[in-house]
């Protein structure tokens, strides 16, 4: 466990120095190797060859079912983002820091997923958020990027302040920060609300989401993929850890879920800028995840929770692929012709002829996001709705109906993009670098395979639902 957690953090230092003293390409290779080793550690821990818990310097950490999907998603997405970003980061000032920060991010997500007390949780969470500030602001000479990064920083800081208040209140109330015992009382309620709002900023719950579109659209493409796929979703871990036993929590999740779907869809509807559109469309997907988990906690059945986490995993892959595909198209259509402005939907005309692979990847990702069978996104949405319909509660069925109507809504902004890709436009095929092709291919394949064999991810979602249901009954 300690190896799993500290290996990336220590390697981050090594990578940073290696890049400074030797060559950036060495640090890139080292990062990839470190991630490979991390996979090995994960596999060994999962199989029980390495201990699942650790006590280091007073920090207590433990891998449990809930950690699994988050760690697996991070480790799955990060190498691909790393490979993809190689072309973009190469030769840039501070390239080695980019790689080091990616490793720190990895460690921080694992720490967040495995923390067993509230303070620890906050600490790792802050480390994760902090590492992403710098990643977002990687292109530091663009004013728009800096603006986005500052917004992100200030708003997140506000959130963490609220969280700190909440933690202080809890400590004062119960005298402990351990996450195990259920607590209640008026000041606990206030503390919970502070936590919800504090972490909710990161989780992009409407109306706390206002940092998100700027940040996602200004970050480097690989980082957008990570933010949308992993970092944002990680915000739900603390909430699930602390608040699951609260009876009103499920209702709150359902409410947040629905509001996120509706507002997010409305915001995305009139977007013409591709990356902003993708950013806004993350809001409904966070909504689906919360909604699915909410159904599960409301009814006390594993189906809903599993479907919500399944949606989380799928969204990581789909939105990751969408951002990477959009990035590849941006490079192919704009940067190679010397144009440096964001990709708008109208710029995509003829993309299918100019960059077939990137277009295919983007289209697959978008269709999956809409929920077209046989792609992964269909399966998770379908499971969420099936769980809602099977609950037997009239209220839930009604809410599920609204959620289902919302997915229809999403067609209205995804399909014009698909349409534009296949419209006729400029011709002349552009060759993508192989480092961009590999991640696109891997993720596209994953979407199709998961869509065909949705059971393939049960080993991640089942233990998580077990853990959550257990804390519900305690």
């Amino acid at each position: 466990m300690s190896l799993l957690l500290f290996e990336p953090l220590m390697m981050a230092v090594v990578v940073s120095f290696a890049g400074r003293l030797l060559r950036p390409s060495i640090s890139r290779a080292l990062t990839l190797a470190a991630l490979g080793f991390e996979w090995l550690c994960f596999a060994l821990t999962f199989r029980g060859f390495l201990p699942a818990s650790a006590q280091i310097m007073g920090l207590s950490l433990r891998i449990d079912g809930l950690s699994l999907p988050f760690i697996a998603l991070t480790l799955g997405l990060l190498p691909l983002v790393l490979i993809f970003s190689a072309a973009e980061a190469q030769g840039q000032n501070g390239e080695e820091k980019f790689y080091a920060l990616l490793l720190i991010l990895t460690g921080a997500v694992i720490g967040t997923a495995c923390a067993t007390d509230l303070f620890n949780l906050w600490l790792w969470f802050e480390l994760m958020v902090t590492s992403t500030y710098f990643l977002v602001a990687f292109h530091r000479d663009h004013p728009a990027t800096l603006e986005a990064a500052v917004k992100y920083l200030v708003q997140s800081a506000l959130g963490s302040t609220l969280v700190l208040f909440g933690i202080a209140l809890m400590l004062a109330q119960s005298g402990t920060l351990a996450l195990k015992q259920p607590i209640s009382g008026a000041s606990f309620d206030i503390a919970s609300v502070l936590l919800v709002i504090g972490f909710g900023v990161k989780l992009a719950i409407v109306p706390l989401h206002t940092w998100l579109p700027d940040t996602y659209s200004q970050a480097p493409d690989g980082i957008s993929a990570l933010l949308a796929g992993v970092v944002t979703a990680t915000g739900v871990i603390p909430l699930l850890r602390v608040l699951t036993p609260q009876p009103s929590f499920a209702g709150l999740l359902l409410l947040f879920g629905l509001v996120n779907m509706i507002v997010g869809n409305l915001l995305a509807l009139r977007q013409r800028n591709l990356k902003r559109l993708l950013a806004y469309s993350s809001l409904p997907h966070i909504g689906y995840m919360l909604f699915g988990i909410g159904i599960g906690l409301f009814t006390g059945t594993p189906d809903g929770i599993q479907s919500g986490l399944f949606q989380m995993l799928n969204h990581g892959l789909m939105k990751g692929l969408a951002f990477l595909g959009a990035g590849a198209l941006l490079h192919a259509l704009h940067h190679q012709s010397g144009i440096y402005r964001p990709l708008r939907i109208d710029d995509l005309n003829g993309a299918a002829r100019r960059a077939p692979l990137a277009s295919l990847a983007l289209v697959l990702a978008l269709l999956s996001l809409v929920g077209i069978p046989p792609l992964a996104g269909f399966m998770s949405k379908w499971q969420i709705f099936a769980a809602g319909m099977a609950s037997g509660s009239l209220l839930l069925i009604f809410l599920t109906f609204i959620a289902a109507v919302n997915t229809l809504f999403s067609l209205a902004y995804y399909l014009p993009v698909v349409n534009a890709v296949f419209r006729s436009g400029d011709s002349g095929e552009v060759q993508l670098p192989i480092t961009e092709q590999i991640p696109l291919l891997v993720l596209s394949t994953a979407l199709v395979v998961i869509g065909m064999v949705p059971e393939a991810l049960n080993w991640l979602t089942q233990p998580a639902s077990f853990v959550l249901l257990q804390s519900l009954t305690n």
């Binding site: 500052v150 200030v154 206002t210 209205a412």
Partner: protein, 617 residues
């Protein structure tokens, strides 16, 4: 082993797809023909085994669908019935593949053509070897798709492109009608029996339904709708004559020898169900008999040699349908086989004429006796089709006529009349093409085709001539072979009287045509009024156009008009509301940090209030 029969053409497709940019013709053709040939060889080996031990071979390949207790697997089932079809499809298929290498020479889409042909083999084999209705349906749709693709293969041909793609679409749409019937029947079967596998359904059906029960009658009628579209029975036959715009090898393989017989095969396969529904059987007999007679009549007055053969195919399919309606399954299968030999031969021969002359109008031909091989093989095909002993067509047709005679004298008489017309039109065609003097320059200078085009003709001519041996009266080899699948123990006895009568009928048709067309010239007086009525195929297309297509178009445009006023307004309203809401929501997103923070605080307050209210309640 039996999986190889299907796997080999799939490999052929894969190789051709993979090498499409590197290898040009004729390599694609050689690969595809090799795949078909290998498949045929494997089928032959399997056939030997089956001959020694007639137990059906089954091979479970995969599970396809599992929903609760309902499951559909992909299991290959090879019994004597499907083996007959497999040999037919792969054997004739191989000959036609080889033939096509020369026929499609220097076509810009040469490789694509062979990929389609191999794909057709795969789909047809899936249909034949299916062990349940759903897999059969999958193959059924697959061959329909291949048929569509191949009819419209020259969709961009100068001047005729629109006509060709319309023909392809017509075939597809008419077949949809049949597919709808078939699918409905499948759904009924699935709900009644809880499975779509052949064996359990056929085992349970007799106990479950009384003879003539309404439910089984509906199911079988729906199955017959499917079969009659695929096998071009009146009134769904209209697509087949138009399908002749496809390349001639396609007409031979798909639209004469194999795919169009799938309807007959389906009924023979599901004969247990049909035996329970006498009403359906009567409908089949009437449809088949009428098709046989009327379409033979249409064939009499055509000058386009491929259209003659197309109408002839429909007429012969009608004969087979009548046979399955009567319950003479062996006779139907027998005729299916011999007709496949004959018609593949005639189509390929017509193809070589088309290839050398560049026209398919018989009035432009004449005097082509000098093309020795085509002449000889065509004559064998024509005699066999006419039903002249001792060619194959005589024996198979005679079995059907004998069965019809036992069933009903009217059916027998009508079918005999059709047989007379058959002998007449094919002799007429033969006379127009080969006898007299050349009526055009191209016909004047025509010369024999290359061996790759003529060898398949010779092979098929041997089969067409000797195919009668399969079920030579008294030997009953074929009857016993098919009987192992259909349970039909004996075919009707060889009736000397019937045989003599039908020989006379055939001979009469031949003589009539010979006398009438012996001295045909281009300026000969026009055909009789009856014939010219026939010529328009009973104006069925006009009827469909006036009573179905046009009203449908009018309805559609009415609805479109109504839509653009009433519901368009509704659409706009929804869109407007969504857009308004969207721009209102957009105002939330000011992009100013101070507002962002304000929203966080608003969120804090709202949730706090929610929790407090929740507590208060």
């Amino acid at each position: 082993m039996i999986a190889l029969i299907i796997a080999v053409p799939i490999v052929g497709i894969a190789v051709n797809l993979a090498t499409v940019t590197y290898w040009r013709e004729p390599r694609a053709g050689i690969i595809a023909s090799g795949a078909a040939g290998l498949s045929f060889v494997v089928a032959l080996l399997q056939f030997m085994q089956l001959l020694a031990n007639p137990e059906p071979t089954r091979l479970a390949l995969a599970e396809w669908i599992r929903v609760g207790s309902f499951s559909v697997g992909w299991t290959l089932n090879v019994d004597t019935l499907s083996m007959t079809m497999i040999l037919l499809v792969t054997g004739i298929g191989t000959l036609i593949h080889v033939y096509s290498i020369a026929y499609m020479r220097s076509d810009p889409r040469f490789t694509r053509f062979f990929i389609y042909l191999n794909l057709f083999l795969v789909e047809m084999l899936i249909l034949i070897t299916a062990d349940n209705f759903l897999v059969l349906f999958a193959g059924w749709e697959g061959v329909g798709l291949c048929s569509f693709l191949l009819i419209g293969f020259w969709f961009d041909k100068a001047g005729e492109g629109a006509q060709i793609s319309n023909a392809a679409r017509k075939a597809f749409i008419v077949n949809r009608i049949g597919d709808a019937g078939l699918l409905t029947a499948l759904l009924l079967l699935a709900t009644r029996f809880g499975t779509l596998d052949f064996a359990p359904i056929f085992a349970a059906a007799p106990a479950r339904f009384n003879v003539g029960a309404p439910e089984i009658t509906v199911i079988t009628l729906l199955l017959f709708v499917g079969a009659s579209a695929k096998s071009a029975q009146i009134p769904l036959h209209i697509w087949l004559p138009d399908a002749m715009v496809g390349p001639t090898p396609v007409s031979a393989l798909i639209h004469a020898a194999t795919m169009v017989t799938a309807g007959v095969y389906l009924i023979v396969r599901a004969h247990v169900l049909f035996d329970l529904a006498p009403l359906t059987q009567s409908v089949i007999i009437i449809t088949g008999t009428a098709t046989s007679l009327l379409m033979a009549g249409v064939a009499v007055s055509q000058f386009d040699i491929k259209r003659v053969l197309a109408y002839s195919t429909i007429s012969q399919l009608g004969l087979m349908m009548a046979a399955v309606g009567i319950g003479a399954y062996t006779a139907a299968m027998f005729h299916l086989v011999s007709h496949a030999f004959i018609k593949a031969l005639l189509f390929l021969a017509a193809g070589t004429l088309l290839h050398t002359l560049g026209t398919q109008d018989a009035r432009q031909m004449g005097g082509l006796r000098k093309l020795r091989i085509v002449f000889a093989t065509y004559m064998i095909g024509a005699f066999a089709l006419a039903g002249l002993p001792p060619f194959s067509g005589f024996f198979s047709k005679d079995e059907i006529l004998a069965a019809a005679f036992e069933r009903s004298i009217i059916v027998y008489v009508v079918l005999s009349a059709a047989a007379f017309l058959t002998a007449f039109y094919i002799t007429r065609q033969f006379m127009l093409i080969f006898t007299g003097t050349a009526r055009s320059d191209t016909a004047q200078h025509a010369h024999e085709s290359q061996p790759i085009l003529t060898y398949p003709l010779i092979a098929l001519a041997i089969l067409a001539a000797g195919g009668g041996l399969l079920n030579f009266p008294g030997s009953l080899g074929f009857a016993r072979w098919i009987g192992q699948s259909t349970g039909e123990t004996q075919s009707p006895d060889f009736n000397l009287l019937i045989a003599a009568l039908s020989s006379i009928v055939a001979l009469a048709g031949i003589v009539f045509a010979y006398v009438r067309y012996r001295r045909y010239r281009v300026d000969s007086p026009p055909e009789s009024r009856l014939a010219s009525g026939f010529q328009r195929d009973w104006r069925l297309d006009t009827f469909y156009n006036a009573f179905i297509v046009q009203p449908f178009k009018r309805l559609a445009s009415r609805i479109a008009a109504a839509d653009s006023t009433a519901s368009y307004g509704l659409d706009r309203a929804v869109v407007n509301v969504a857009n308004r809401l969207s721009s209102e929501a957009g105002k939330l997103q000011t992009g100013q940090l101070s507002w962002n923070i304000a929203w966080v605080m608003v969120g804090l307050i709202v949730v706090m209030l929610l929790v407090i209210i929740g507590r208060g309640l």
